[in-house]
């Protein structure tokens, strides 16, 4: 089975289930939206998929990506890309340093070229040496996506990444993210409480909680 598959996933806080057992499939190039009110465990589900669940919670169930079991792997070997509501650029690294963080095992020149190409494609040429704090909100959001994509993920997880942006920027950035994911044929799992985001994704919409 290609794509991202979840089977009977349950999260518990002190023994209490956050939502009923969840099963879903996301095919490559498809976007599945998970909707629910805040506090229903949407973000924790993504954290569980990444292997970075808060120690106060426990998770059970199976998750696989392109047929390979995810749950046994440490977070850094799951090859999942995740975007949060905040861009979470590393404040101590330059824009180029952030982009290069997930690009390992390449010669220096090759790394530089890949970073420069990604920035040019995002209409931010020559930004590699810039301080992330000097960028606009829209630019920071784009750098955050580029950072994820450069690491070569095999699936994309979106944790309300459009929530912080204003209305005009929001539509543009949403298009930017979804186009890039579609071009790479990535399965995308989007959690949101905004119906417009779920609708724009153009895929199945599930309700949680």
């Amino acid at each position: 089975m290609r794509g991202l598959v979840l089977q009977q996933v349950v999260l518990r806080l002190e023994g209490r289930m956050l939502f009923p057992p969840l099963s879903l499939q996301v095919a490559p190039g498809q976007v599945t939206a998970l909707m629910g009110p805040s506090g229903c465990g949407k973000s924790s589900l993504l954290a569980w998929l990444c292997g970075t669940l808060d120690p106060a919670l426990t998770g059970q169930g199976r998750a696989s990506l392109d047929g390979a079991d995810l749950t046994a792997l440490p977070p850094e070997r799951r090859r999942l890309g995740i975007l949060f509501q905040d861009d979470l650029l590393f404040p101590h690294l330059s824009v180029g340093g952030n982009l290069g963080f997930g690009l390992r095992g390449l010669p220096r020149a090759e790394r530089r070229a890949r970073i420069a190409a990604a920035l040019a494609e995002a209409e931010m040429p020559g930004f590699a040496e810039r301080d992330p704090a000097s960028l606009s909100g829209g630019q920071r959001a784009r750098v955050a996506l580029l950072r994820v994509l450069l690491a070569g993920p095999r699936a994309l997880l979106l944790d309300e990444p459009f929530g912080r942006l204003d209305a005009a920027l929001r539509g543009r950035f949403r298009r930017f993210v979804l186009d890039h994911a579609a071009a790479r044929g990535l399965p995308v799992l989007l959690v949101t409480h905004d119906a417009a985001d779920a609708e724009a994704a153009g895929g199945p919409v599930l309700r949680l909680g």
Binding site: A56, P75, E76, F90, P91, F101, V148
Partner: protein
């Protein structure tokens, strides 16, 4: 093999508690006559009879209680009134920056400075001499006074800035702005509104620091030796004086006195809690009555803290002036000339002692950073499996009088033949450095956005790489601040150095105190200045280094 998640926390708490518990036992046994090394087995009440027969014991107890409670109450009141009156001024938030030099200065250097300021021949007397027509130092015990007032004030000079810093940190955790707006719209003048609705929340968060101030003020030896009366001295001095006696039999009453001080401290803490509960009830009654008078009294009381801060800064200046003073007749406000003669004459001794001081301070600080960092990282990764509730126990040394366990620790080290060496002194310093380092690091480490590490992990970074390339750089500022605090705490240790060093390990602090009774004041000034200069340099580095390292990273430059 996978190590248990709780190992780093256990290691930290064990490092602190092992010497404390062993030391307490080592004090308790000789206090009841049991010390086989000195040929005393079994138990007896003779040490206590000997202690109770000491002339002036009652006065010693009274001195300890008045200076201890007085210094704590003065520090807390001055800070509360100051915040109440000035919390809405733009300068208020910037006070923190100005506190740094006062926080960095060790108690001893501050005490020597207060001596230079307030002694009969000190700067204040010289300032007043023309007004009072003095041509020789007044025949008044302005320091080492029999009531312990100079000791009380000298302690408040160091403790009030610390409580202010803790209160500022606590203020950031309270919804102060919204509470203030509500209270003022209900008709309360700003200073009263602050005392009624914000202070109770702040006090709840600074209870541990307040008790630490109380325990330190009751148990301090170095400040009591410097500023307190000599005969009888405050209680904390007795065990040290007897321990340094040639007569080994004095070990027994010394241990009993250390246990008495411990019991007194615990009783004082309970008393403080009781009084605080009553004061809280009265305060709630006051707040509920809607009274609006008294704002002027608060504004007047708010000037206490600026006066204390001014005295503290003046003390720092006075100690520096002492160290470079040439000939200086009494009523003259300024020495006839300034020279570095005293510095030059003491150069070799100073270099050796500064070296010895740093040989303890630097490894103790690095070890403390490593232990605290490992424990906090384990808690961040494993949560409850790392046993975070144990961490609170490591604050115990801040809440006990040092003599209580350091005395017994020395007795044990002596029996094991380990006293006087660098490892023993290092460990004794670590007992005090670790809780302070943890106090600085715990909140920023816990406040670090966990999604930053998750993003890094999702980009393919393993736990070690996440720690080294994301967490530690982002935490650079609190890490450096913790390092500076660690160095300052270690440099300031008197009793830990004296006892674990068996009286043979000399640092700037132990030598300065040895000089304080009757030595040359200029030499004392030089020692105290250098003792203060080491932590001050570290604090300056802490303020400047992140600014330089992150000069092109606006996201990390703030504060």
């Amino acid at each position: 093999m996978r190590l248990p998640a709780c190992l780093p926390v256990l290691l930290l708490v064990g490092t602190v508690l092992l010497p404390v518990l062993a030391g307490l036992a080592g004090t308790l046994l000789p206090a009841f006559g049991h010390l086989p090394a000195l040929g005393a087995a079994g138990w007896s009440l003779d040490p206590w009879r000997q202690l109770l027969a000491t002339p002036g014991l009652g006065t010693a107890l009274r001195l300890t209680l008045t200076s201890g409670f007085g210094a704590t109450a003065l520090s807390l009141f001055s800070v509360a009134l100051f915040c109440a009156a000035f919390h809405d001024r733009p300068l208020f938030r910037r006070v923190q920056l100005w506190l740094a030099p006062l926080l960095a200065t060790p108690h001893l250097a501050m005490g020597v400075g207060f001596l230079a300021l307030a002694a009969p021949s000190g700067l204040l007397a010289r300032l007043l001499a023309p007004l009072l027509g003095l041509d020789r130092p007044p025949d008044l015990a302005t320091v080492n006074d029999p009531w312990g007032l100079a000791l009380l004030l000298g302690l408040a000079l160091k403790e009030a800035p610390w409580l202010l810093l803790m209160s500022l940190a606590a203020l950031n955790q309270t919804p102060a702005a919204r509470l203030m707006a509500t209270a003022r719209l209900l008709g309360q003048p700003a200073p009263l509104a602050w005392l009624k609705v914000v202070f109770p929340l702040v006090y709840r968060q600074i209870r541990l620091p307040v008790h630490a101030v109380l325990a330190y003020s009751l148990g301090t030896v170095e400040m009591a030796l410097l500023l307190g009366p000599g005969n009888p001295p405050p209680l904390a001095v007795l065990p040290v004086r007897w321990f340094l006696d040639r007569d080994l039999a004095m070990t027994f009453p010394a241990a009993a006195a250390a246990i008495l001080l411990l019991a007194l401290t615990l009783a004082a803490m309970a008393l403080w809690e009781g009084v605080a509960a009553l004061a809280g009830r009265a305060g709630r009654h006051w707040a509920g009555s809607g009274a609006t008078s008294g704002a002027i009294a608060v504004r007047l009381g708010a000037l206490l803290l600026p006066v204390l801060l001014l005295l503290a800064v003046g003390s720092l200046g006075a100690v520096l002036l002492w160290s470079v003073a040439g000939p200086w007749r009494f009523p003259d406000l300024w020495p006839r000339r300034l020279d570095l003669g005293t510095w030059a004459a003491q150069r070799e001794g100073l270099l050796a002692l500064a070296g010895a001081t740093l040989r303890v301070a630097l490894p103790a600080t690095l070890l403390a950073l490593a232990l605290a960092g490992a424990a906090l990282e384990a808690v961040a990764r494993h949560g409850r499996a790392a046993w975070p509730w144990l961490l609170g126990l490591s604050y115990l040394p801040l809440l006990l009088p040092q003599t209580g366990f350091l005395f017994g620790l020395q007795v044990l080290l002596l029996q094991l033949g380990l006293d006087g060496g660098l490892p023993a002194v290092l460990w004794a310093h670590l007992v005090f450095v670790l809780p302070h380092v943890l106090l600085v690091l715990a909140a920023p480490w816990a406040a670090l956005d966990p999604r930053l590490a998750r993003s890094a992990a999702a980009l393919g970074a393993g736990p070690l790489r996440v720690l080294c390339t994301v967490k530690l750089p982002v935490l650079l500022r609190p890490l450096l601040a913790a390092a500076a605090v660690g160095v300052a705490v270690s440099v300031g240790q008197y009793l830990a150095t004296l006892f674990a060093g068996g009286g043979r390990f000399a640092t700037l602090t132990t030598e300065a105190l040895a000089l304080s009774s009757g030595g040359d004041r200029r030499v004392l000034g030089v020692f105290a200045t250098l003792q203060a200069a080491i932590p001050l340099a570290c604090y300056a580095l802490v303020l400047l280094l992140p600014r330089w390292v992150w000069r092109r990273r606006a996201g990390l430059r703030a504060v």
